[in-house]
């Protein structure tokens, strides 16, 4: 019963903070005036505040599920869209869309970005599996390097074609540009998360290694690359709307797993809720610190996220591998790490 208590608590937290988030902003909106049907206030609510809230929730849900899927598939707790070159590939795709189709709509940008994100993630996982690192920490390190290289190429092209300014809004994630009519693509996250939930057990099995999944009759390569594709598509649809937000996919699943264990079906709901809550909190902080201006969420997540991540690492080092179950089953990417 203790376990479902956490879930309920997370749900209540999300509801309270969502309501709070709707009423934070430069223009004061009062509940009584909304109820009496003040036209201006209703407009602000439905054009800006509500879309923003929905985008926040979708981002939190999407990025944490993407992280969870990647961690399960690679059997490595440190893999995520940030540390797996997915986000930087998605940015690269957006730049390509700008270069080849200057009049591109948000949809064509999303397609470019999704294709690049998928390819980037595939190449990264292929490289990692080929080398078979003995040490689990090596994998995120290579991912970060990979991301740096792709980011360097993006920078170079942007610099070459004077696109630096156009691309910069996708380099720092922020919800301030979310308005009705410009953010709906982020809803793609919902069906993708549902698919992930349906195939959750398959991801779990693939995480246990090639031989194991063969024994259970699961097509290893198919599920592996299909799962990566889902994670990359989620990431791309978030990056296109909000810009890059690092660390959510890394931290949220790890914290959820500390409480709930590694079985993906068991943790998925809590991961989703915790992810939404985390992004919500960060966004509210970003809006309150230097009000009436706001800080991009990427900065708040960057500060909080990196501190939490380092704390997790040091905690694990101090308490042995049982503290955070770093290795789910036999590591596919990590080989026979002892």
């Amino acid at each position: 019963m203790k376990n479902s208590g956490i879930t309920v608590l997370l749900l209540i937290g999300i509801m309270v903070l969502s309501a709070f988030s709707l009423f934070v902003g430069v223009i004061n909106i009062s509940f009584t005036e909304l109820a009496t049907g003040d036209f201006d206030q209703l407009q602000i609510m439905f054009i800006s505040r509500l879309p923003r809230l929905l985008a926040i929730l979708c981002t939190g849900v999407g990025m944490s599920v993407a992280g969870l899927i990647m961690q399960q598939l690679c059997a490595n707790k440190f893999v995520s869209p940030t540390t797996g070159a997915t986000i930087s590939s998605a940015q690269f795709g957006i730049l390509l869309a700008f270069l080849f189709m200057p009049s591109s709509t948000i949809w064509s940008r999303a397609i470019f970005s999704a294709v690049c994100a998928i390819l980037g993630t595939w190449i990264f996982v292929w490289f990692v599996q080929r080398i078979q690192f003995k040490d689990i920490v090596m994998v995120p390190l290579v991912g970060i390097m990979f991301g740096n290289i792709i980011g360097g190429i993006t920078n170079y092209l942007a610099y070459q074609y004077s696109m630096t300014q156009a691309i910069s809004s996708w380099l720092v994630g922020s919800f301030s540009t979310v308005l009705r009519g410009r953010y709906e693509i982020v809803y793609l996250v919902v069906p993708l998360v549902v698919i992930a939930f349906i195939f959750a057990n398959h991801f779990n099995i693939v995480g246990m290694g090639k031989d194991f999944s063969k024994n259970l009759g699961v097509n290893y390569n198919l599920v592996l690359f299909a799962g990566l594709t889902i994670a990359a598509m989620i990431t791309a649809s978030v990056v296109v709307v909000v810009g890059s937000i690092s660390y959510i996919g890394l931290i949220v699943p790890n914290v959820a797993a500390m409480f709930k264990g590694d079985k993906i079906r068991g943790t998925l709901v809590d991961t989703v809720l915790f992810g939404a809550l985390f992004v919500l909190v960060c966004d509210i902080i970003g809006r309150l610190v230097i009000a009436p201006y706001e800080l991009p969420i990427e900065l708040i997540v960057g500060i909080l996220g990196s501190l939490i991540f380092i704390a997790l690492l040091i905690y694990r080092l101090g308490h042995g591998s049982k503290a955070i179950r770093i290795k789910a089953g036999k590591a596919a990417a990590g080989g026979n790490a002892q």
Partner: protein
């Protein structure tokens, strides 16, 4: 894992290098020095009109400080990376990967942020340089020695924490910048993007003095570097005060990196490339040779790279992009080949 296979078994050779090998290294040094001098000369002379003394003077006035800065930076990064790699006994790590560059940028921003641009610290570039270095020395030694202790010198964890710290420092710095007064931001930007081209001569002098002081302070510790490479137990057995030496060397590394970053901004992968090239070429474990080698490689790469960027691409690519992409690929290549060998 790989650091053991890379350094431990071969370390014996360092004690008694065969005469033939020593000779071969001398040849290599001669060639390397020749290439370095050639690149300096090329950089100084390409496109200069010698027939017009006034143009010649003008060109020299622009180029001489640049070359001096690049020489200093090459020495700082080459030496610091080599020493750092030997301290932690791993050849794929550089201090820049640990976020020391972004820490410096953060400290510089924070000083302006808290003192304000009107203060003496912000207006006098020499004082600001000294304050930055002092803070950097204290904070970085504290953070990194704590980190090494906490992770029990597990290099991979240190690296991972370092890369995460990089984004932490950058986020804090950007947050400060966003909360800053626009006028103060202008002042900050002018001092932050100090590229090769606009370094004043006093800073050059000051940093040369600083480097000399660091080298003088560490002269005893640098001598035992070869012994430290043998590992902690052996070094202690041979009478080295291990912990103290490591701490002092780490402080030196931090200061050298701070000097380099203060002069040209972050060039993260340069150290990785030149230190490994020096190791590959010289195949020795004597640090006097290795440090010199990696500094020379640094000169060749930096000045040669700058020459290519300025002449061939006509400034269309910033050199940092070059170094990031090239260095990242080189890093992955190193991992791949070390894996094969191991």
């Amino acid at each position: 894992m790989m650091e053991k296979t890379m350094t431990m078994p071969k370390a014996k050779e360092a004690v008694t290098p065969s005469p033939a090998k020593r000779k071969r290294n001398t040849y290599k040094f001669v060639i390397l020095i020749a290439i370095a001098i050639l690149s300096v000369v090329l950089y100084m002379t390409v496109g200069v009109r010698f027939d017009n003394p006034r143009l010649l003077q003008y060109a020299m006035r622009l180029r001489i400080p640049k070359v001096i800065v690049m020489l200093i930076v090459a020495f700082c990064i080459g030496g610091a990376s080599m020493v750092f790699q030997s301290i932690i006994n791993n050849t794929i790590v550089t201090p820049c990967l640990l976020g020391m560059n972004s820490l410096y940028t953060l400290i510089h921003t924070a000083v302006l942020f808290f003192f304000g641009t009107g203060s003496l610290v912000a207006r006098n570039s020499n004082i600001s340089f000294e304050v930055d270095l002092l803070l950097m020395g204290i904070i970085a030694t504290f953070i990194y020695s704590y980190m090494f202790k906490k992770t029990k010198y597990n290099v991979l964890y240190v690296l991972l924490i370092g890369t995460v710290l990089t984004s932490f420092f950058t986020s804090v710095q950007t947050t400060m910048v966003r909360a800053m007064d626009p006028n103060e931001y202008d002042t900050l930007l002018a001092t932050l993007v100090a590229s090769f081209s606009n370094v004043n001569s006093e800073i050059i002098l000051l940093s040369v003095v600083m480097i000399a002081l660091v080298l003088f302070g560490l002269r005893k510790d640098l001598k035992v570097l070869d012994v430290i490479t043998l590992g902690k137990e052996q070094a202690i057995n041979l009478g080295v005060d291990y912990d103290r030496t490591i701490k002092r060397l780490l402080l030196g590394v931090v200061l050298l990196i701070a000097i380099a970053t203060a002069m040209v901004g972050p060039i993260s992968f340069l150290g990785l490339i030149i230190a490994n090239l020096a190791r590959q070429l010289l195949k020795t474990y004597r640090h006097s040779q290795l440090i010199l080698g990696s500094a020379l490689f640094g000169v060749v790469l930096l000045i040669g790279g700058q020459l290519i960027v300025e002449r061939l691409f006509v400034y269309s690519i910033p050199i940092s992009v070059f170094i990031t992409v090239g260095g990242g690929l080189y890093f992955l290549y190193l991992l791949y080949t070390q894996k094969r060998r191991g």
